[in-house]
Symmetry: C2
Subunit: 119 residues, 2 copies
DNA sequence: TGCATCAGTTACGTCAACTGCACCAATGGC
DNA sequence: GCCATTGGTGCAGTTGACGTAACTGATGCA
């Protein structure tokens, strides 16, 4: 796990696109956040509401990572109370194809595939 | 994280296909194993060799989960030394579309997107 | 007898992601 | 003054994915 799918601290970059994808969309929440953002720009609390169970801490971290890597833009309005809007960049929007593929797979697959016994 | 992308112990099944997908392809290695299996049937050690860094422990666990959920078949030949072949089921092969989408995204995207500073 | 192979299993430990709770700043309403 | 709101931050603690090392069983080889 030092050159396949871990963080980008020492590894230059895996050749494989799948591995690269996993570099950015790694945790369980990451992909779900992108899914929400695909519906349009969201404020912080809107994302919190849309993702029941996520903590502010986790959401902040994922969002920061996305911003750092150019998947998402963060726009802060100097109002009171503050308003911050997160929006996918064109790069982030290109992830729609991936999410759609995941969706198609999971939805065409029999429900039994998700049960531990397999049927 | 009790009904979005966690295990299938109590949650019936998320409505969202993306969340369902994440139920099965969760860890960093899971997707990479599927990627290798997409190239054809593999023996245990072949998978070990193809995935530098993975431990037998992790590989066993991921493979078991896939078998349990019907993504992969496990064929053990009663030879000495033993030979076990893992192969994707049609269900598993349908994941090719998802992996291809990941690959396309990562490869059309500028390399700078993977650097922490965002380019 | 002892070492090597394959495909694991088991015990034990690490490490990062994630969680919950409290707290902050600045302002509006009561 | 006190509470609510928004968008977080810090600390402590949990979870579980993952890693290392040792071991198994049956056989071939020296």
């Amino acid at each position: 796990m030092s050159q396949n799918s871990a963080s980008h601290n020492s590894a230059p970059l895996p050749d494989c696109g799948v591995a690269r994808f996993l570099l950015l969309l790694d945790g369980p929440w990451a992909t779900l956040i992108v899914r929400e953002l695909l519906h349009g720009p969201h404020r912080f609390t809107e994302l919190m509401d849309a993702l029941p169970g996520i903590s502010a801490h986790t959401l902040t971290n994922r969002l920061r990572k996305f911003v750092r890597h150019g998947l998402v833009t963060r726009t802060a309005y100097p109002e009171i109370p503050p308003r911050v809007v997160y929006e996918l960049t064109p790069l982030g929007h290109q992830l729609r194809a991936v999410l759609t593929a995941m969706d198609d797979w999971a939805l065409t697959v029999p429900t039994s595939a998700f049960t531990p016994t397999g049927g």
